[in-house]
Amino acid sequence: MSTSVKPSGTAATRGRRRGRPDRKAWAFLGPFLALYLFAMVVPVFYAIYQSMLKVERNGPMGLGEPSVGFAGFENYSLALQQETFVDGFGRVLLFGLVQVPVMLLLALVLALLLDQVSHRWAGLLRATYFLPYGIPGVIATILWGFLYVPGVSPVTDVLGDLGFQPDFLGYDNVLWSIANIVVWQFAGYNMLIIVAQLKSVPQELYEAARIDGAGPWQTALHIKIPLVRPALVLTTVFSIIGTMQLFAEPLVLKKVAPAVTTDYTPNLSAYFDAFANANLYLAAAKSVILAVVAMALSFGFLSLVTRKQRSER
């Protein structure tokens, strides 16, 4: 009855007395595993399969009746030859290198500062900072979009009165305007993760520090920050994954910001290839490339961090 997923090499602790509960486990695991395979695992393989197909053009000038054939890695090489697609990766990496640290720094600072404030205020402020997380990214982008467009935005109004002419949606600035939206949305959420970690710091450590005469700065630097490291690692990994997939914010902002092209991020490029240009197989290849790069970066980061940790012990 057991659905074979992956043959395991772990030590067989097949309790013979527990023969019946053993099988029952699969009954509980089954529904989730079935859907998981169907909606998360199989699509990956299907995408890889589709990425290896191509449309074969026949007839004069290629305008005859088309057919589908095997492409091998042609779609991958086509995608990597498209300068704009590769530029999208560079753009997203640059975006991540700036946005993720800024956001986590903000989250960390807020978490530490909140620790210094009375319980009631801390609760209220925490809720305020967390609020943007509940607002869907596209709605946040619509709102910030209004705040960026001169004529509607009170921000540009006020800055204009002060003598500045900000061009939030200009070619050089729109990437950072998008970064602002992402920071606004997720800083509070990441702050909560850090706060949760902070709360699990045993009080004895603070007591000991206080007795030793450490001020709030030193407590923060030497105790709190090192102890929230696991939380920081977690938030960084998720932020990397999220940043690589940047899609909704540029897509919605595109309407008011002509600087956002159809290849602005790799995900946008794959989307337009599939739905605007009907290049489904190429889009599948782009999705696979994106997934591979994102996972490589997360694994790379994780192994870097764990290796550092192991060397520290």
Partner: protein, 306 residues
Amino acid sequence: MSATSTRTTTGSEAAAQPPAAPAPRRRKAPRPGRIVLVAVLTVAALYFLLPVYWLVVAATKSNDSLYGSFGLWFDDPRLWDNLSRVFSYDGHVYLRWALNSLLYAGVGAVLATLLSAAAGYALAKYRFAGREAVFKFVLAGVLLPSTALALPLYLMFSKLELTNTYWGVLIPSAVSPFGVYLCRIYAEAAVPDTVLEAARVDGAGEARIFFSLVLRIMTPALVTVFLFQFVHIWNNYFLPLVMLSDDRKYPITLGLVTWQQAADRVPELTQYTIGGAFVSVIPLAVAMLVLQRFWQTGLTEGSVKE
């Protein structure tokens, strides 16, 4: 958690620190530092609230005063008028969208929670060959970029004729590997083996044990998983965008973007987009404010272990 040994300072900066009172855990920072602290926290609060405040003000304005008056203060407020037009436009499609969002997020999150609870429980409380391998396999799914999946899902579902149906959105939404992880950790910690053994000795079947006993014990984790998944589905844009072409099936997110994109041809839609955003954001904001402790609890419980 890796513990770092507390370093003792040689008292140079500590001299500025007044001796701490014995009872209260919190210590008040020195006065100038306190002002900076409050200032930073206030500016942060203003930053996070700015768009929401703007939204509240803008929702009360007519299309003309949107462009004419100052963005941060009211001008001839007509909130009810605007909202009634938002609701009635295009055959009350907005209400349809709201119901769709609730359907996708609500039903999806319930299904996800149930499935995750069952799977997490199985992984925590039963021993079977391949258990850790399955767990690692599921964990890998947490790292899988979800938007990279939406396109392949679309390709698959269009072969199965599941695109542009409610199921096309619900099925992927009901899968939460992160939920399985949370539930396993919680079940391991909170569900005592003794209770399970006792129930089995009493003759209860496994299913009965799960539904009447285990689920009750696991409630805090279930609430957390539900909330996580609800927000995740509610906020998800790429999946419904790719799956749905019938605008009657859109969730609010997709619907409002459609309005925003058509606003240059149909100018009233700018006002309707703002009104629609207002209606969807305010209850969400209130919910966030009220429920944020659940996230904290859930995250404290186990997600931040290495």
